[in-house]
Amino acid sequence: MNDALSLNDALWVLLLGSLLGLELIGKVPPTLHTPLMSGANAISGITVLAALTLIIKAGSSGNGGLMALGAVSLGFALFNVIGGFLVTDRMLAMFSRKPARQKEKR
């Protein structure tokens, strides 16, 4: 994976990624602060990719201890990702079912 990635490329990617992040959130209604924070938090669990890479590389060199460390890391990251997305969905589900119920009542 790293064969194609030079430092120069990596820094450009970092710069453009940061700029994109700055642009994406301009105006957020306060209602959404909590879910947005929770959702962005789930995305930051993208370190699963790093944990996976660690395990696989440790696997090819037969390093059991390192694989175990990677697995713990993977566990932490997935706890963040799965838990984060599900809990965000739970919150947002409450918002979206609102208008439907209102119509029912009236």
């Binding site: 994109l20 306060p30 909590t34 959702g39 669990g45 370190t47 918002f95």
Partner: protein, 480 residues
């Protein structure tokens, strides 16, 4: 370029695009839920991309598969269970917990690569320097994110208090000392790659995370969590440099930058500056003697009297606070509101930007109790309407209705936007006692002549109120 490489790049590009759409969509009410799902799909695609890439090149050892499956099952299951079990009132601490775990993951990856460089980005000369720096950043930020998030969670749960020495200037000395230790360790690690430097860095930055977070008051915790969320993005980007993954760098940078903006937006909503939150110490620690004084001229009344006043009102506004949610009284509140509405009384809920424990938290809590979304009115909109309001019922909120924030320039709350409930004809404050609010400051609203305290647990008072209203025949007119 083999087909597998092309596929890998295609998957990564789609994943990045979906992530960007996801974050964008999360900032609009209508698209938020779909956007969250899109982001989840993007993450799944990114994982798929990594697996395909390795399968087509070096292959994946069967023992590696075992560890992958093990980590996935344990982490995923625990995450899924936690997300479904946790009460909505505990949302801020839950986000802190998840976030800390993300930081821990980046920390562990960097640790693994530092202990066994073969696993990381292979490089010579500048490559080694870059690898060293990215490991340092990943360990440093990852450790701060983890320890800081755990402390934030502990404070929100009420497990941790701010120790006295943390209120003094001494904490700055200690934190600067810890930062210096981390810096020395980082330089040692980059220069010689020794294990001592690595462990010292882990310990130094973990303690720094604790030291910085512990002195921050509970009311400011949401800002801290949002900032730590941004950090965990930075840690992920650094981990991307460590293992050489473009996808990780993009996503980490995006979350890092977006988190920073969100933190700023939240600070604005709470009228706090980020510098003040981080270095100002706990709010209320500096409260003047006048703020701590005894209350005078308090009027209190029963649920019955409250019901009688409500019966004749035309317009009623509820001001829900965190205390309401803790008492699990949102559902009974909705019942009371429905009784009043059936009587033809105009009902609204005034939502302060930081009602609950985090901006937007109260909206989630009321939505859980099926309160109609249209009745939740934001502060700017409802403030001019208070003079035309007959009855305001404050439920478990305190600092967000404190008139001192407008009138008293010596108050620590001064300048914070508040709900001007005292402009209404009658104000009922439902509260368990006269204890101070989250910020630890006395509330002059309670002493106003048009304010009556209804002492008791929000749930009990509201059930009592519902019963009194029914006995008065309120709500029967159209329902029955």
């Amino acid at each position: 370029m083999t087909a597998a490489v092309v596929i890998k790049y295609a998957i990564e590009l789609v994943a990045v695009l979906l992530l960007a759409l996801g974050i964008k969509g999360l900032s609009k009410v209508r698209s938020a839920r779909a956007a969250n799902q899109i982001a989840a799909v993007a993450l799944a695609l990114a994982v798929l991309g990594v697996l395909i890439n390795f399968l087509s090149t070096s292959g994946i050892d069967s023992s590696a598969w075992l560890w992958i499956i093990g980590g996935t099952v344990v982490g995923g299951l625990l995450g899924a269970i936690t997300s479904q079990r946790v009460p909505m009132t505990a949302m801020p601490e839950t986000v802190a917990l998840f976030n800390g775990c993300g930081g821990m993951s980046s920390l562990l990856v960097a640790l693994g690569v530092a202990l066994d460089p073969l696993a990381g980005s292979d490089g010579e000369g500048t490559g080694a320097l870059v690898a060293g720096i990215s490991i340092v950043v990943s360990v440093f930020v990852g450790a701060i994110t983890f320890s800081g998030s755990v402390v934030a969670m502990g404070k929100l749960q009420g497990w941790l208090d701010t120790p006295a020495w943390m209120q003094s200037k001494l904490r700055h000395v200690i934190n600067i000392g810890l930062a210096a230790v981390s810096l020395v360790a980082a330089i040692a690690l980059i220069a010689s790659g020794g294990d001592q430097g690595l462990w010292l860095l882990v310990i130094g930055s973990s303690l720094l995370g604790i030291g910085v977070t512990l002195s921050i008051g509970g009311a400011d915790m949401p800002v801290v969590i949002s900032l730590l969320n941004s950090y965990s993005g930075v840690a992920a980007a650094a981990a991307g440099f460590v293992v050489g993954s473009q996808m990780l760098i993009v996503a980490g940078a995006m979350v890092g930058a977006a988190g920073l903006i969100l933190t700023q937006v939240m600070c604005n909503a709470m009228n706090r500056s980020l510098v003040n939150v981080l270095f100002g110490g706990a709010l209320g620690a500096s409260a003047s003697a006048a703020d701590q004084g005894e209350y005078q001229g308090i009027t209190s009344c029963s649920a019955e009297e409250c019901a009688l006043t409500l019966e004749t009102a035309q317009r009623v506004v509820f001001v829900p606070g965190y205390g309401l949610a803790v008492a699990q009284a949102q559902h009974i509140l909705r019942e009371v509101a429905e009784l009043l509405e059936a009587q033809g009384i105009d009902v609204a809920y005034a939502i302060h930007p930081v009602a609950g424990r985090m901006p937007g938290h109260m909206n989630v809590l009321l939505a859980e109790a099926d309160v109609p979304y249209e009745q939740l009115i934001e502060m700017e909109t409802i403030n001019p309407e208070f003079p035309r309001t007959d009855v305001v019922i404050v439920l478990g909120a305190n600092d967000v209705v404190n008139p001192q924030a407008r009138n008293d320039s010596s108050s620590p709350l001064y300048g914070m936007p508040v709900l001007n409930v005292e402009e209404a004809t009658t104000v009922f404050v439902v509260k368990r006692g006269l204890s101070a609010g989250y910020a630890g400051i006395k509330n002059s609203l309670f002493e106003r002549p048009n304010t009556s305290m209804v002492f008791g647990d929000a749930k009990k008072v509201l059930s009592g109120l519902a019963q009194e209203l029914r006995e008065l025949g309120v709500g029967k007119a159209k329902v029955g």
